[in-house]
């Protein structure tokens, strides 16, 4: 090995580790939104749910001293906000786009209001734990297996969701609610119930994504901690074609871009920081454009769930004809 290659590998490990860390909150939120959209509901409130999850996790961890209880509180906060979306769209039959936007505005407002007193405080969070043996694999070991508990959890989440969606009866029922509620009803499966489950599970995972930001990425609270990650997650769902296994690819790709951008800033790159900051957002648009081209080419593949955004007939989940 030449000294150059050793240098490059030495560079690669921290970048990889940083990509995985930046990707983790995106991964949680993307997988959560995949569950929600697979059940037939579009929830654009990801940003709001993440931010509220981040705050709840931070406050509970600060109060109890247990980051695990904090993470749990993050899930609960995300799910609680999602309940509002369920009430507005499923119970009251309101427009899903408008409700999602309202949820974002409300969630961001709530988090910044309630969190105002905590700015700059430090809460106990998750610290990296090296996994014996695995962490000593060259290059990959330190990147993959010297992380904190939530990152390890983020490895398992897409896999677990994949198994639940595609290998269990529950997953089939949930998908039926999002593909063809009438078919579900005819088969004795309540689409209303499974849409609720989809909304709540998605909200909890978005909240967990937020919790990662306040408990792992930083251990402190600042305003606008999410900085648009919720919206990137919504775009990633399209990018990864509603598949949890592909969400890993998308999340780490975008995590990598964010990490790279931060690294370049820290290194004092010639480019102004505002241009570097644009990278993830511009890439999101590019990803959607590229994907849409691909979609028209591959016609009939990577389509959204057929009944995504389609309200169930009647407020009680389809008593009407």
């Amino acid at each position: 090995m030449t000294p150059d290659m050793v240098d490059m590998l030495a560079m690669l490990t921290p970048l990889l580790a940083a990509a995985i860390q930046s990707g983790a909150p995106l991964l949680f939120a993307t997988v959560g939104e995949i569950i929600t959209e697979r059940s037939g509901t579009l929830n654009l409130g990801v940003e709001g749910m993440m931010l509220c999850g981040a705050l709840a996790a931070f406050v509970v961890s600060l109060g109890t001293g247990s980051p695990w209880l904090g993470a749990l509180a993050g899930c609960a906060a995300g799910a609680l906000l999602a309940v509002l979306h369920g009430l507005a769209t499923l119970t009251c039959g309101g427009n899903q786009v408008v409700s999602g936007l309202a949820l974002t505005i409300l969630g961001v407002g709530l988090a910044d209001t309630l969190g105002a007193g905590h700015i700059g405080q430090v809460a106990p969070g998750f610290d990296p734990v090296a996994i014996p043996v695995l962490s000593s694999i060259p290059v990959l070991g330190p990147a993959l297996f010297t992380q904190d508990a939530l990152v390890y959890l983020s490895f398992g989440t897409p896999l677990a969701v994949w198994v639940l969606l595609f290998r269990t009866r529950w997953g089939l029922h949930l998908q039926a609610a999002g593909e063809n509620p009438a078919a579900a009803r005819a088969a004795g499966v309540s689409p209303l119930r499974w849409r609720w489950i989809g909304i709540l599970a998605g909200g909890a995972l978005c909240g967990l994504g937020g919790a990662y930001l306040s408990l792992s990425a930083t251990h402190l609270w600042t305003t606008n901690l999410t900085a648009g990650r919720g919206w990137i997650a919504v775009a990633l769902v399209i990018f990864c074609a509603w598949r949890p296994q592909r969400a890993m690819l998308g999340a780490y790709l975008f995590g990598g871009v964010m990490a790279l951008q931060l690294r370049l800033q820290a290194m004092g790159a010639a480019l102004p920081s505002s241009l570097l900051l644009m990278m993830p957002y511009a890439m999101t648009v590019l990803a959607l454009v590229a994907f849409s081209r691909a979609k028209s080419r591959a016609a009939g593949r990577n389509l959204p769930p057929a009944a995504l955004g389609v309200p169930l007939a009647g407020p009680q989940g389809g008593e009407g004809r």
Binding site: N180, A182, G188, G300, A306, R321
Partner: protein
Amino acid sequence: MATHIRIEGVSKSFGMQQANRDVSLDIRAGRILALLGENGAGKSTLMSILAGTLAPDSGRILVDGQPLPPGNPAASLGAGIGMVHQHFLLMDQLRVSQNVCLGLPGAFWLSPRRMAALVRDVSSRFGLEVDPDARIAALSMGERQRVEILKLLARDCNALIFDEPTAVLTPGEAAILADALCGMVTQGKAVVFISHKLPEIMALAARAPVDVAVLRQGEVVARYDLTTDTPAEGELIRAMVGREVDLAQVERLAAAPHVLGEEVLVCRNLQVPGLQGVSLGVRKGEIVALAGVAGNGQKPLVEVLAGVQPPQGGEVRLLGQPWHAFYSGEEPGRGLVVIPEDRRGAATAGNLDLLDNYLLTTRRRYTRGGLIDRRQALDDLRQIIDDFNVRPPVPTTPGGRLSGGNLQKLVLGREFSREPGMVVAEQPAQGLDVGATEDVWRRLLAMRARAGVLLVTSDLTEALLLADRVLVLYAGRIMGEVRRGISSLETEEARGKIGRWMAGLD
């Protein structure tokens, strides 16, 4: 296994319209019940009541003597009654095995291998071959229908209802379905087969015991047991469509001498999805009816003529111009008016008031320098409301509040006021009461003086009464043409011919 389903005195109405009136039927294991009837005769409503997706207003359903709870799909399914809907209830992006296994009781974990094995097992038992691992979106209509049937068979349904199952099938696929149906009957299942196509019923009767019930305007008007009875085709057709309407006056108007002018519509070998080379022509001064059961290509044809979708093959000339030239430029489609079947969806907007609905297609006439002269439009609208007797006569009423008949009068008044040279009217009298229907017919006849009229209809009486020529559309093709008869004998003969063509017989 010896299921016996009895429908007792079932009635159902939607608002003013009576869909089923005191219908009683028996469905027996090992037999096929063929339900015959025109569109809107109440066949699908009756079967939806049986499948539990609708609840009857009165009457009940007995399964082996036990009453079935009304309006409960799960209960119907539990009693072994399953329905293959006209619009399949499938999850298009999931696999066949997932669709079949949805809602089946079983283990929590789903193994693709075991699910596929289950599908293979059922499909081989009934001769319904389909790849369990294929995604629905990649399947043909016939294969999708097999999946629907497999869903019911996997649940051990004993009574299977098929709502116009061959409407979406190619002849080859229809033959496979017929084999499967006969197989099910021999294995002791009861089959209900809804159709308006006679040849299919006759073909089935040659291979399995078939009962026939003819429904007309919600009532059972005739019953046959084809194992013992042999009704003539003409008799069945008359039972289905033979409504006698006394409209001597309209008839006289229609038969009055009139002059033909230049050709205003020419289609040569027109091709779009759903149409397989349609050729027809309409001259100024005549009404040409395009008869046929809905879903045989009417929708794409009207959309092409209306400029909503372009022709993909063949030639279309409208008022002497090729299609693309006719539908481009400053005022696309000038001189051709369309009265679409879907009044509320395609011809009007429910939340806009009558004035805006009037301006929908007439707006160019009132535009000066980019501005709409609403005062002038309002005056003209008042005139039309008067002439056509639109109720309520208030221009600020939202279009959605008008009854179907009044909305249609507004649409007719609006379109006729555009002084067309060509009129395409699709089911113009559907859902109207007798008085309004007669009114619409008179106005169409009066239109002959100024324009050519293409009347797209599934109502034979309407076609024969108004049209100078009747063409029959079946499966995207023109089956044949009849000219207006002078005597009632000729009309009767034409009716028989058209009925056969509409049913797909040569």
